[in-house]
Symmetry: C2
Subunit: 321 residues, 2 copies
Amino acid sequence: MAVYTEINDEELNDFLADYDLGGVLSYKGIAEGVENSNYLLQTDRGSFILTLFEKRTKPEDLPFFLALMDHLAAAGFACPTPIHGRDGVALRTVAGRPAAIVSFLNGVWPRRIQPHHTADLGEAVARMHRAGDSFGETRPNDLGLAQWRPLYDQVAGRADEIAAGLSAEISAELDALEANWPKGLPTGIIHADLFPDNVFFIGGEFSGIIDFYFACTDAYAYELAICLNAWCFEADNSFNITKARQMLAGYQKVRELEGGELAALTWLARGAAMRFLLTRLYDWFNHPAGALGARKDPREYLAKLRFHQGLSGPGAYGLDH
Amino acid sequence: MAVYTEINDEELNDFLADYDLGGVLSYKGIAEGVENSNYLLQTDRGSFILTLFEKRTKPEDLPFFLALMDHLAAAGFACPTPIHGRDGVALRTVAGRPAAIVSFLNGVWPRRIQPHHTADLGEAVARMHRAGDSFGETRPNDLGLAQWRPLYDQVAGRADEIAAGLSAEISAELDALEANWPKGLPTGIIHADLFPDNVFFIGGEFSGIIDFYFACTDAYAYELAICLNAWCFEADNSFNITKARQMLAGYQKVRELEGGELAALTWLARGAAMRFLLTRLYDWFNHPAGALGARKDPREYLAKLRFHQGLSGPGAYGLDH
C-alpha cells in the first residue's frame, strides 16, 4: 500500500494549473505499488494516474522513464502515456516531490496466474523489447551484478536472522555469479520489474504494462529470467514448467531467443533471484514491520535461487535445447 | 490506508456475475478510510466503489446503512447509491466478507478547511437531516453515552501512558457527562462520522457525503457537536470561531436549532470529544504502530475536550444566545 506523500487541495490545484486537464472530479490515493505514491485522478477529460516519486527512484532518471513511455506508446505498445503540461514539460514538482501525470491504463493485474497469462506476457514482453529498439536513450541497470555485493554488504551481518547460514550462502553464490555471469548477450530496453501487479489484462486479454521506473538497458533474456521468477512459481515455491514454457513460447512468437541466450538462462535466473533476494533483505531490515504494509518475504527468493542452482540447463524451463 | 482484504480476479468475476455492471476495466484498492476495505471499480457502465466490511461494522447493521443510502439518494441528497444485483439484493459476500457496491460520488475532500467549507457543510448536514426524516428505520448509536464507560474500562489501565493523569481525568468527565447529558432533544438520522474525508467538494462547491457506516438515530445537535470538533479546530488545536459560526449559520438556513439544542451544545461537544478520545485510545493500544497506517493521536481529542470544558455557553461557537 503506498501513499507516502499527501497532497492538499491547494497544492493539487496549483499543480494542475500547468496542465490542460479540466476540473478535478476526484483524486484518491491508490493502495498499490511499494515504491512511489500514486493517486487516481479524475477530471473532466478522463482518468489519470498522478505519481509522486519517492526514495528508490532517482530524480535524474525520471526524464529517461518518461521519454521511454512516450516512445513505447508512440510505437503502439500499450503503456501509460505521460501527460505534458501546456509548456510541454511532463516532469514537475508537487508537495516537495518530483511528480508526473500519466494516462490511466485500463486493466486488472492477475492475482491468480494461469498459463494463458504467461503466454500473453511473453508475447507482450517481446513486443515491448522490439518497440524499445528504436529508443535512442540508455540507462545502466543500477540493480545489476555490480550492485549486488554492495547490497549484500549492507545485509550480511543480519541475513542469518532470516535463515541459518544465509549470509555465507549468498556470499558463495555471489562468487559464482561474478565468475559465470553471461556476457555478450543481446541487450536493449528492459522493464526490469515485471511482476504480475505491473501487467494488466481485461477479460483475460493482455491490456498493457505499467510502472517503468526500473527500466534500464540490460540483456533481453535477463527480463525473461525476472519473469520466470515472478510468474512461474506457485505459492509453495514449486516451479510450474507449463507457465514457463508458455511464456518463452509466447516471447519467441515475436523475437526468437539466440542460442547464447538460452544457454545463459539458468545463470540469469539465479542472478534475477539474487537481485530480489537482496533488495527484500534490505527492505526487511530497514523498514519497521508493517510501516509500509506487509514486507515481502526474502525466503521466497531464496527458494527460487536454490531451484535454479539445481538445474543443468534451460530444459527445466520447458525449452528443448 | 485501508485494504485489509485482497480480492482475486476469480472472486471478483464470480461476485460481479450477480450484477448488471458490464465488464471490469479496472479495480484498485483505495488508500483511504480506516474501517473497511475499499476498491475503486471501473466497468463498461461507469465507476463504482466496492466496499468489504471489516471489524467495527456489524453485518446485521448493513441492511440499515444501505437502505438509508437508498432513501437519502431517492430524496435527492447527494450520497453514494447502493447498486442492487439482478435479484434486487445489494448486500452480498466476497472473499469471506460482507460486501456492497455503491455508485461513485465525484468530489474531493478538503485537506485545508476554509470557512466556506464549513458553511456548505452545515447546510448539507441540515438537508441530510431533513431527508432522513422520512426514513422509517432506526438504529441506536452504539458509540453513545452508554458505551463510553465500557470503552473507558478497556483503556483505563494504560491511558496515563498518553498523558499524565488522563485516566482519572476521563473518569471524572464521564461522571459529569452522565450527570448532565442532554435529554429530550430533537432526534433523527445522523451520519455520526462527519470528518472532512467523508465530505466532498468540486471546485469549492459541496458535492456529497460518503461513508454512512456509523449512521444511527441520535440528537441532530450531536451531529453538529461532532462537526465542531472535526472541522472547526486548527492543526494546533486552537478553536476557529469563524468556521463554527459559518457552520451553524449554514445549518440554520435549512433547519433552525431550538433553544434546548443551543443550550445543550457544550455538553454535546464534550461528549463528542469523549467518544473520539476513547475510540482513539482503544485503537492506540490495540493496533501495533503502523499496522494500519498512522494511528490517530488521542491527545488531539483531549485538547478539544478541555476546550469545551472551559466554556460557559454556546456563544463561544459563534452563536448569540
